[in-house]
């Protein structure tokens, strides 16, 4: 299980990286493994509001669908459109394939560091 030390994590298995005040958000290796082959990603639109602890989209595998929960509140400033045609990137490169970027970050969920997240996955 790959859990990069430099990222922060949510209990619902999203990762977040802060880049100059912008939150870059994706799903973890654990999440993609549990989902299996991702076949589609429902993305928000640029300019939509994101709310900490609430769904901003979802990912579909053949037999399951899972909400994407935003770790922060703010405004969606970028959406990874590449995922529309190549959702499998979430499986092959979960930490490279970011899903959205959020700016004007106001509120933040309680985030875990890599060690705490590893323990959380272990417990699930």
């Amino acid at each position: 299980m790959n859990i990069p030390a430099e990222l922060k994590y949510t209990k619902s298995h999203e990762w977040v990286r802060m880049e100059d005040g912008v939150a870059v958000i994706g799903i973890t290796d654990y999440a993609q493994d549990a989902l299996g082959d991702v076949v589609f990603v429902n993305l928000p639109q640029q300019g939509d509001d994101a709310a900490a602890g609430e769904a901003f989209g979802d990912v579909e595998s053949v037999k399951a669908v899972s909400d994407l929960v935003s770790p922060v509140s703010g405004t969606v400033c970028a959406v990874n459109e590449e995922l529309v045609d190549a959702p499998e990137l979430l499986n092959s490169d979960p930490y490279g394939a970011w899903i959205i970027k959020v700016e004007n970050v106001a509120d933040t969920e309680e985030l875990l560091d890599a060690e705490a997240y590893a323990a959380h996955c272990e417990a699930e």
Binding site: D37, V39, F40, E60, V62, K63, P87, E88
Partner: protein, 467 residues
Amino acid sequence: MKLIFEKSVPGRHCSLLPKCDVPDAALPEALVRQTAPALPELSEVDLSRHYTELNQRVHGVNCGFYPLGSCTMKYNPRVDEDMAALPGFAGVHPLAPKDAVQGCLSVLDTAKTYLCEITGMDGMTFQPAAGAHGEFTGVLLIKQYHRKRGDFKRTKIIVPDSAHGTNPATAAMCGFEVVNIPSAPDGCVDLEALKAVLGDDTAGLMLTNPNTVGIFDENILEITRLVHEAGGLCYYDGANLNAVMGVVRPGDMGFDCIHMNLHKTFATPHGGGGPGACAVGCKAFLEEFLPASALMQGEGRLQVRSFMGNFLVVVRALTYLLTLGRDGIPEAAQNAVLNANYLMRRIQGTFEPAFDRVCMHEFVLDLSEYKKETGVSALDVAKALIDYGMHPPTMYFPMIVHEALMLEPTETESKETLDWAADVFREVYARGKTDPDYLHGAPHHAQIGRPDEVRASRNPVVRWTKP
């Protein structure tokens, strides 16, 4: 095999219509379609053979055992088909004058009499076309009831987490917030969990009894009492009515409205996914909210589809009800329950039931231990059954049992078939222990090997296109 379009030969056709015996009417140029639809061009022989070939690649109830849990795949009597094809039913226009449709009205009225007696309800509509559509109709009764009383604060419908997906989806379509409550370990309602969510915002509860693991909830009177006490109504999902018809009635369990899947309990064929037909019954105080057709004296009422519903399916169900009668109805239920218990006990010792107690008309096998031991999943076992000519049970439902296989043999299977099926399960069980790879690769002798579903979803090809 080839698609019908790949068999098309330009210029070939069936000879079906006479020459037009009146002058042509001109269609204004602006309204004319620019290109003809690329429908296949075939002779009747081509058509007959194409569909015969397709039909040979379908497993119906007539082909063999079909223990698909929660779907009640009982035998569909042929006489029901004959009755639905009578010109006196099939040839009736829904908007023909009343005096010309007295037979149709009698069919609906008689079916209502039978089904109200079986369920303990007072009023009924046959307008919904399928089970989920009936749920929608029933929950709208609940919504209208609260509104009429001016009670707008009831915004929540309670659904156990073991429920069919249609229940929460229906509640959402009716504008309610869905409150999922965890089930007790046996799939029954956890009374404490129920009490914790009941309140003056409760519009109602949706419940199946027997529940989705095939167990009759013995607390049912307490459950419906609690909901009523909180001011909510109780909705009975009739998916599992086959276990109890003629033995115990939803109306006597305290339910206010109910839907029945005529295509399950009352033996009308599933047709590869439909048409079904649904009867929604209710207690007298909800009758004023039943739907009707706008063109058929339904002014002011809600309406969930056109006309009176899937009438010809009701004809089939009524024929079935007439043949069973007052004794045959409970006899069917009792033997559905006996067959399920018998099959469960015959399989036990290999695959283990999730709940080691008497079941109703269906039961769930829990393969999680077996999977740990052998690596063989419920999916592998299901696929292996196909090689024996048996339709697999329902897989991975209900979600509260991991590696679930849900079997519903129905009453129309003989002891010999059940013995054979149990032997097949035992054989597959043994094979998985010694040769798990064989099961991972199953089916081996089916129409196709396992399909690539990921590819189908990632790159959807949902129609044929001319090469």
